[in-house]
């Protein structure tokens, strides 16, 4: 199997000398092609910082990150934008759709930036919209759509370019349970049908139960890992709850 993402001994420190906070403390893991990996942890456990480092938004203090065998730490600005538009897809908690553009245009933008041919743009956007079941709101503006539709539009924008890696930061954070389930079902289909590799950060056990594999972070370090294997999602969900309860202890916000 092809390795998409490799993180080696990643360290990210904040603050100046004297009062250093170590947000990520020596984290290593890798993600294979077609995997759906979750990163769980309480608020402040370093999971968002980890995602930011992988997405080139933040630069690590030490350690290396490889995407498809290529090191992405220390890329030049021009290489950064090239890497983002050709290899990465982003899904944010608050969608980050452009509110002056329709859903169609929001998705199309990811392609036009890459210089795709107009005919191909329309074809691929329609395909992505069909896959994420948002074909009926292509001409709507973000504020005319429901939160779930918005987030699925963002997901369509992230996958329409066939990126090597889709990064999702708390994608269900602002959704009601029904919309969240709909979105995660779509993630599963994306993952299965398109072999999309997804790295998702969440603190919600239900959301995490859709993953194949979960890394649990606490205070910046990987505390434990959990594999779903061939078991059902329901069983996996219970396992996750167990880990969270065992780890959580005094952290009431994880449940």
């Amino acid at each position: 199997m092809e390795t998409i993402l490799t993180v080696e001994h990643l360290v990210r420190e904040y603050g100046s000398r004297g009062s250093v906070t170590r947000a990520i403390d020596d984290v290593s893991f890798s993600v294979e092609k077609g995997e759906f990996v979750g990163i769980m942890g309480a608020s402040g456990s370093g999971k968002s910082t980890l995602l930011n480092c992988v997405s080139t938004i933040d630069a690590p203090t030490a350690g290396r990150i490889f995407v498809e065998g290529r090191e992405i730490t220390g890329l030049k600005p021009r290489e950064v934008s090239r890497f983002r538009r050709e290899r990465l897809g982003f899904i944010f908690q608050d969608c980050q759709l452009l509110d002056t553009l329709t859903a169609f245009e929001n998705i199309a933008l990811a392609l036009t930036i890459r210089g795709a041919a107009p005919g191909l743009v329309e074809k691929k956007v329609k395909q992505a919209a069909g896959l994420l079941e948002i074909a009926d709101c292509m001409d709507k503006y973000p504020y005319q759509m429901s939160g779930g539709q918005r987030q699925r539009t963002a997901a369509a924008r992230a996958m329409v370019t066939d990126p090597a890696l889709i990064l999702a930061d708390e994608p269900t954070g602002a959704l009601d349970s029904k919309s969240a389930k709909l979105l995660l079902d779509r993630f599963e289909i994306l993952n299965r049908q398109r072999e999309a590799t997804i790295l998702m950060v969440t603190h919600d056990a239900f959301t995490a139960s859709y993953c194949h594999r979960i890394l649990f972070l606490q205070d910046g370090a990987v505390l434990t890992r959990l594999e779903r294997g061939d078991g059902s999602r329901r069983a996996f969900f219970r396992q996750i709850i167990d880990v969270v309860t065992r780890l959580g202890g005094d952290q009431s916000d994880v449940l």
């Binding site: 933040d58 983002r84 452009l98 002056t100 036009t112």
Partner: protein, 594 residues
Amino acid sequence: MFSELAWKNVRRSVRDYGVWFLTIVFGVCLFYTFNALENQTVLRFLAQNPKTNIVESIRSLIGMLSVFVWAVLAFLILYASGFLVRRRKKELGTYLLLGMERWQVARLLLAETACIGAIALAAGLALGVLAAWALSAFTAGLFAVPMTYFTFALSVPALGKTALAFAAIFLLVMVYHAFAVSRCRLIDLLQAGRVNQALKGRSLGASVALFLLGAALLAVAYAMLLTRGLLRVDALFWVMIGLGSLGTLLFFRSLSGFLLRICQSRRGFYLKNLNLFVLRQFNARINTTYRSMTVICLMLLLAIGITASSVGLNNTVSQMAEEELPQDVSLTFYPDGEEPVDLPALLAEGGFDPGRDCAFHLAFPVFRSEAGQAVARSVYDAFAGRWGRAAADAFLEREQLAVRPDGEAQGAWVNCWIFLADYAGDKQAAEEAFQGAVTALSELGGYGYTTRLDTWMDLMGTKVLVLFIGLYLGVVFLLASAAVLALQQLTQAADAAGQYRVLSLLGAPGKMRGRAADAQVALAFLLPLALALVHAAVGMTAANAVIAEVGQVDSAASSAVTALLLAVVYGGYFLATCRGSRRLLGTGREARGA
């Protein structure tokens, strides 16, 4: 407690208030400079000349035009205030949520307005005094006015007028704020951050219909202007202005939708790079910008029109100076006694010897004949021999003289003596000698004279006035519209920073984002300019018809000067705005940090 909160707010939202503050400072500066115009060095120099009653006419002209300038500035400041309230909706919503009464919030805004307004007024006046002084020095140098006339002058009436005018504008702003607060709903205020403006999707049909209606109104206004001319100010004139303004408004209102639909139908263009983003951003803002675009277009029209006409008129005036007088000096003497007068000899006694100082001179009596005042045939022939038959006929016509045979002149009753001459050698020295010699004549009778140099000075005065007021107003309007556009674009750029961050995360390279930012600034700057140029082309055709009645029109020179002014002022602002918006949007780097 309120004043404390208000002062804290002002300090905290310096960036938001910055736009408002700059607009007011700029407006106060322009208004003062304009009203202090009569204190300008060049004009005080002209006022020394008792023959030209220029200062009085300037005073009334400024009075009329400053009302217009005031209206423009009031609109701009109200516009900036509306922008400010929109940006702070969430904050105002929080006050209401915390249990503040509406009138208390209105009072808070009032205190803030008063606070920032007072500072801005003071800063604007200080800047205005400096600007008026610098301009005075510059123009004085330009027109070669002796430096003895140049002093640092503070126009107290202009100061008072400016303070009063802006106090009135602040009052309007306060009323506007109270109105805005009393009308708003809490839910809208708190959610203002999500959708900053309602995006009304107008259909293609509506956009096309509005566009065509606007074009038709403009065509009617153009036709009226070209057939009726520029100077017939009656009821229909105002109808024409109204139609033109309304047509311009409709044009901008429908243009973005129209443009968007056309581009959308051309997929190859629409789905390329960030084109769709740029067009959508432009269209989303048109609901709030079409009014200001209209005003800016009309201000640009004024700037272009005034500059071009004043330069055109100035060249025409220069031409007239060349044609006015055929001879260098013309003296008329009314003797007290009845005995014949030898004017050349009298002048020679005073130090101006026509035999030495003149290349040619002619002295003759005007006598009473049966056909009224007349000159002798030989005099007419001499005149025509020196300055041409046409000039001789023009002279007779102007003085209402007849030509009689030489015999009739003998013993006839002489009304006056005329002395005509062209100087030899240094004309300036000869003129001074003449002016020194001619005073002696007052002991013998009354006299009057005109010299070519004198007439030239008079015309120069008119020329200075026309050019000065014209260029001044032109620059004022040009600066005002460019500054407003720059402020508007920069604040919009600040609003769009989040969107450009998303573009960076999607992988749009800095160069592409920079081009998109430039395209947005270019649309805002060039669309009003384009329509204003069309308006101006039609308007100048009408204006040139007026100038052509006085003299020959030099449209090449006026176009060149106007184009230069536009390129320097408007182009400068355009480039500065592009740079500023690129900086605000961070197109030189990739998005970092969460």
